[in-house]
């Protein structure tokens, strides 16, 4: 057994070494990227072509410009990534038709370049790059590079403009009352959505690029003076330590930097809604935005965050508190209802009232499978239905749900394959599991673990299972903050089991924000001010 595993491991190591050798062959490309731009246009373009290859979407446009068209220049850009209006109106047109170069053309090359930069190019963001590699990188991210004969640097003109999804209401985290904007896949839109909500100069958006192949833009957003500098540094250090070739979604980042990769509980929060992320940043958390993902990560995450919905804070505290308590109940039901049902009906029948016992027993009469198998079948069928419902196109999804509801719910019971009480229990479980969306994944696993424990040991198994889960939860930490910290009484509990009125939540959560902890300075309760009506 172990020999087999060692063999496999050795094989894997050998493969890894072989692939290292392969990358050595491509070194020439890397070397080119280190070369400076020479100023000989044809040579520079040749190098660029060599690096970027012959992809059809890479455009190298050579042209002549200046008053008498005596200067040779080239624009390098990627079709589809650049805004073509901007390219023609802001770069090509002024360059080719522009007369300003006339008086400077005989002076030094550097001055010509300055002229082009300052008086001709109609763009808000022009930078200079000296290396081929830098040029290629900028072009690949949607900018246009301008090379000219005799210039030993490239002008990088920001022309990013590709088709993107507009801001829309997110599919997850719907609210009845509250903002409906959602993040999009576009990096800048997302940072702008945050910036628009926090107009403080202290909002920091530190930029990083991660991913050797994808070079994904990643931004760490936090408020300086509110967020714990230690946590900010930890987040940045972990992000920098990622050496992966691709970041396709913030989910990648989450898995690379989370504290407990082997835990079923998420230790990094996420949200699709800018107001939620803003609120978390204001509590001292750090947000991680990645290009291409409408989900923004927030860290550190507490267990309790899963039970807090943004709407809790937009509606008045009474109903919000009630709903929150219901969410805890729903979470409990979603992980333990099938297990408790199994424990009661196969081990502890004496705990069921007599009349109810007869009803349950009547449903059991003639069903062929043991209760445990019945539960497992139904729980897994539900997971399959859910998965199929998500993946399928919407019209087909409806068909699936009809088939699921009719065949599983109705026909299976009347055919006598499963008992009706079990169907009800699993249905309640399924509904309850959606009340706490952030823990749906962990709940699905816990449900099955508890189910197995309950069917082998009854109530004792459930107790042991819950104890295990509790011990595990208590051992978790997210970026140094204990996962369950706001469930203990030494932390401020204004926002845990019940949601206190906003004016009573005067301080930011303890432990997360350690500086500037005063959130508001309201009178408690706020007393309304009356302006006596004037008699004029």
């Amino acid at each position: 057994m172990f020999n087999f595993i060692t063999k496999k491991l050795k094989y894997g190591l050998r493969r890894a070494q072989e692939s290292k050798v392969e990358t050595a062959d491509v070194k020439s490309n890397k070397e080119i990227e280190e070369l400076p731009i020479t100023g000989r246009l044809s040579a520079d373009l040749e190098l660029t072509r060599k690096v970027m290859g012959t992809s059809s979407d890479i455009k190298i446009h050579e042209f002549r410009y200046g008053t008498n068209s005596e200067l040779k220049g080239a624009l390098i850009f990627i079709d589809g990534l650049v805004n073509s209006d901007m390219l023609t109106q802001g770069i090509l047109k002024p360059l080719i038709l522009g007369k300003n170069l006339n008086s400077y053309q005989k002076e030094s090359i550097a001055k010509t370049l300055d002229t082009v930069k300052q008086t001709i190019l109609c763009s808000g963001d022009v930078t200079e790059k000296h290396l081929i590699g830098e040029l290629v990188e900028s072009v690949l991210s949607g900018d246009t590079a301008f090379l000219s004969e005799g210039f030993d640097k490239a002008l990088i003109i920001s022309t990013k403009g590709w088709d993107k999804r507009s801001i829309s209401e997110p599919q997850t985290e719907s609210v009845v009352r509250g903002p409906r904007e959602g993040f999009t896949e576009n990096f800048r839109t997302n940072t702008a959505l945050l910036r628009r909500r926090i107009k403080s100069p202290n909002l920091r958006m530190d930029h990083l690029t991660i991913g050797e192949k994808t070079d994904t833009n990643v931004c760490v957003a936090y408020i300086e003076g509110v967020a714990d500098p230690g946590i900010v540094e930890t987040v940045k250090a972990r992000l920098k330590s990622i050496s992966a070739d691709a970041i396709l979604d913030t989910g990648y980042i989450e898995q690379y930097i989370e504290d407990h990769p082997f835990s079923m509980f998420p230790t990094i929060g996420y949200s699709e809604k800018p107001d939620v992320v803003t609120a978390r940043i204001l509590e001292g958390r750090v947000a991680i935005i990645a290009d291409g993902s409408p989900f923004v990560l927030t860290a550190p995450m507490l267990f309790i965050e899963s039970f807090q919905s943004s709407e809790d804070y937009y509606i008045r505290p009474f109903h919000a508190s009630m709903i929150r308590i219901l969410r805890y109940l729903a979470f409990f039901i979603s992980i333990s209802a099938p297990a408790i049902f199994i424990a009661l009906t196969t081990f502890h029948q004496e705990l069921i009232p007599t009349t109810l016992l007869f009803t349950i027993a009547a449903a059991r009469e003639g069903t062929p499978f043991p209760t445990f198998l019945e539960a497992i079948i139904l729980v897994f069928s539900f997971e399959i239905l859910r998965e199929a419902g998500i993946r399928l196109p919407r019209p087909v999804g409806q068909a699936i749900s009809i088939v699921g509801a009719l065949i599983m719910g109705e026909a299976a019971v009347s055919a006598g394959l499963v008992g009706a009480p079990m169907v009800i229990v699993v249905a309640i479980t399924a509904v309850a599991s959606f009340a706490v969306p952030e823990q749906t994944d962990s709940a699905a696993i816990m449900r099955i673990i508890l189910l197995i424990l309950a069917s082998s040991f009854g109530g004792f198994g459930i107790a042991v299972g819950f104890l295990g889960i509790l011990i595990h939860l208590a051992s978790l930490k997210s970026f140094g903050i204990p996962y369950c910290s706001s469930l203990t009484f030494n932390h401020n509990m204004q926002d845990s089991f019940v949601r206190m009125p906003l004016w009573a939540m005067t301080k930011r959560p303890k432990g997360i924000a350690n500086e500037d902890i005063i959130r508001n300075d309201m009178q408690i309760p706020p007393s309304p001010v009356y302006q006596p009506p004037s008699n004029e």
Partner: protein, 389 residues
């Protein structure tokens, strides 16, 4: 490598626990017979008992679409004869395709014949066996206990469940007294060694058989010695202070009334003269509201209440003394006086322990009754009283 082997060991330990020790006491509901009632009768062979169990048929009883044929009997009765409960149970188990499941047993009915012969040897099983619950109601049947379980009830398909409901209901009206197995057993094993259990009988009216609770059976040292009538059992409840409802009829020279009992309490105390037990003292408090008034012509309500208070105290006293005399006749200390003295005056108990029966049958009971009429109902008047005409 080390970690992999540790994980492997952990996984195998968990698997071993799950597969080797798990499920050992699993009971699928379709493998059990839910026993709802037990009856113990005297068997024809001397020294043997006939044990009858009533099993609720889930298929016929459960709601929803799974209900079986409409004319299917909802219960099944099986019986066996044996020299002890365990022996009889063994043979019942052998004859049944399913595990007998006693946790939902509602009643334990003892046939009068067997009760008079003695039940001590047969109660041990119910004390010892972890399956049997102490919340089971203990009853004594007039006639055969099996017949009681056989009797069908109009509303409750399972007669044992119906009997349990009936007992709860009767406890509310105080006509009878529900006795749970735990109370019964502990009273019988205490110093007083006497206990009561409600009597259930079958009333045959033409072709309808129905069940009725009436009075209490008095046990002494595990043997039934006599019966208390309904009124006597109410008197018993007054002394024990656990009367929870019901009516008290009061007769006075000016008129009569029905008083509804709201609550009652009682304090028992032995009175010693030097070291000799002189008498028992019971301080009884009763709180009532007026449920019905007849007579009391031209009287004010205050006067009526004063009159009623006196009358109520008298009728309670009559009930109490009636029952007390009966219990003295039977030489059964059903009140637990002996246990009380043993508990709080252990030294003195030793002197009277040996001839407690004789002491008890000559023991005087002093009753001090406080009556409180709290409410006159919806009206303070009555058609015949002053102020209407």
């Amino acid at each position: 490598m080390k970690q992999i082997s540790r994980l492997f060991i952990l996984a195998s330990v968990i698997a071993a626990i799950l597969f080797s020790s798990g499920c050992y006491d699993i009971r699928e509901l379709d493998r059990v017979s839910i026993v709802t009632g037990l009856a113990v009768d005297k068997a024809e062979q001397p020294g043997n008992i006939e044990l009858t169990i009533q099993i609720g048929k889930a298929g016929a009883l459960g709601g929803g679409e799974n209900v079986g044929a409409p004319d299917e009997k909802p219960v099944q009765l099986i019986d066996a004869v044996g020299e002890s409960v365990m022996v009889a149970l063994e043979s019942l188990r052998n004859d049944n395709s399913r595990i007998l499941f006693f946790q939902h047993n509602q009643v334990l009915i003892i046939g009068e014949d067997q009760a008079r012969t003695g039940i001590i040897p047969y109660l041990d099983t119910f004390m010892r066996n972890k399956e049997s619950r102490f919340e089971v109601w203990v009853l004594v049947s007039e006639g055969n206990a099996k017949d009681v379980l056989e009797t069908e009830m109009e509303l409750d398909e399972v007669s044992a469940v119906g009997i349990a409901k009936m007992i709860k209901n009767h406890t509310e009206t105080s006509k009878s007294l529900g006795v749970r197995l735990l109370d019964f057993l502990s009273k019988i094993t205490e110093r007083s060694a006497s206990a009561v259990a409600p009597i259930i009988k079958i009333i045959k009216e033409e072709d309808i058989h129905r069940l009725s609770l009436s009075g209490l059976a008095v046990f002494k040292k595990g043997q039934m010695t006599g019966k208390l009538t309904e009124d006597q059992s109410i008197g018993f409840s007054w002394v024990m202070g656990d009367l929870k409802g019901g009516n008290l009829s009061v007769e006075t020279e000016k008129g009569s009334a029905q008083l509804a009992v709201m609550s009652s309490s009682s304090k028992l105390k032995p009175v010693f003269n030097k070291d000799r037990l002189q008498k028992m003292k019971a301080d009884i408090t009763g709180k009532f509201i007026i449920a019905e008034l007849t007579g009391f012509k031209n009287m004010k309500i205050e006067q009526v209440i004063d009159l009623l208070k006196k009358g109520a105290a008298d009728s309670i006293k009559k009930l109490v003394m009636d029952c007390y005399k009966k219990s003295q006749q039977l030489k059964s200390d059903i009140y637990g006086f002996g246990s009380y003295i043993y508990k709080y005056h252990a030294g003195r108990w030793k002197t009277i322990e040996k001839d407690w029966d004789a002491v008890f049958s000559n023991l005087a009971l002093e009753v001090d009754i406080k009556v409180d009429i709290q409410d006159t109902g919806k009206t303070g008047k009555s058609p015949e009283m002053e102020g209407i005409r």
